[in-house]
Symmetry: C2
Subunit: 211 residues, 2 copies
DNA sequence: TGCGCTATTGACTTCGTAGTCAATAGCTTA
DNA sequence: TAAGCTATTGACTACGAAGTCAATAGCGCA
């Protein structure tokens, strides 16, 4: 709480800094914790400055969500190699410790969307981007002959619904370790892309071990 | 806003009335909308009366959630008949228009659990009750020879994760009508209990039509 | 070096929330 | 019909949030 000398930055830079901080809070503490104060304080500025760059907190929240999602998506789909291994890596990253914050944010945003139309629209758009990347991945797997899958969009939908289904339990006090639950994403994915469930489980485990 | 004569009720009755109102708000508007004022106003009482019966709003929210869940569960699992038809009815009710409010409440509670430990515990307990009822239903189906299912708890978990996975999209602005999505619960259920997917879809459709 | 532009602040208003507690008034009972 | 118990209220405090706007002060440029 030391009175510091005020630091003047270029608008673009300051704006970016605010956005990054808001995204950090959204990811770690939740969208409802993104407030003028919570964003301003760690940056050492006054709340009204946040207002200066973002006309309303709601707009900031939506931007923060977009920003966090874009960054996390890149992380999730990163890497190359054979399609089946990339798919396994993707699943492993989703289930990873780092994936927890992202899973929480998704759940958070999905509830938030009920009260904030703009966020609902942004969320739907972010979903479509995710689907696009997964469909691309599945298509390359089909082309490579690694799995037979008549309809890659259908498979993609099944996989994401499985991810979301498992994700809703993220805030449960004690986690649920039934093997059918812990392997749910792999199993549904194997079902969706018509490949062997046991092998996929193993590949996912191997991918997870490399972190 | 007419100044009415104050009405004095028996504590048990008043308490029940408050709880019912809170549950109604939780179901229709969300747990975050359960406030001293929002509950008091429609009952024609002052906010401090709510405080008199419930030491804290958080406690009221948890009780309201429990109450809403208990009532809705009874509705969801109601009915008799052959196990497979009861299973189909259950799915149809989940997907029903009336199921929407319940789905929203689940999503809502799952996000809320992040910030409210008591609610998290209550939610886990409510989940266990649901699982118990579905396992019972599945067991009776296996006994009746209607479907083969080695591990009914495993099947139950798969079915609920599917329900939750579909449920997270409840607040999306435009709904997603890909057949793989709209039939997701039926398809996963058929996969889980090793029965025919097409037949189950039809039974669910038939069950849905009877409302 | 000093001027001007504008990023940043401070002081403020308004709103909605939870909660406390003494005072009030409805109902029951004697 | 009067007394007493207690359900209910009113007035209050305290908090934290969004947002407005005139005043201030850093920085670039002349």
């Amino acid at each position: 709480m030391v009175a510091q000398k005020r630091e003047r930055k270029l608008p673009a830079e300051r704006r970016e800094e605010i956005l990054a901080q808001a995204a950090r809070i959204a990811l770690s503490e939740g969208l409802e914790r993104v407030t003028l104060r919570s964003v301003a304080e760690p940056l050492g500025v006054r709340p009204s400055l946040i207002n200066h760059y973002f006309p309303s907190v709601d707009a900031l929240i939506v931007s923060a969500f977009d920003s966090a999602m874009t960054r996390e998506r890149a992380r999730l789909f990163a890497g190359d190699g054979a399609p089946l291994d990339r798919l396994a890596s993707f699943i492993a990253r989703v289930e990873n410790a780092d994936g927890v914050a992202l899973t929480r944010l998704w759940l958070n945003a999905r509830n938030f969307a009920r009260f904030n139309t703009q966020l609902a629209l942004s969320l739907a758009y972010q979903e479509s981007l995710d689907r696009q990347l997964l469909v691309d991945l599945l298509n390359s797997g089909v082309e490579a002959g690694e799995f037979a899958c008549a309809d890659t969009l259908a498979a993609c939908i099944r996989i994401f619904v499985a991810i979301d289904g498992v994700g809703v339990y993220i805030n449960n006090p004690s986690d649920f370790s039934h093997p059918v639950f812990t392997n749910y994403i792999s199993d549904v994915t194997a079902w969706a892309v018509e490949t062997d469930a046991v092998e996929l489980r193993e590949r996912v485990a191997r991918a997870a071990a490399t972190y």
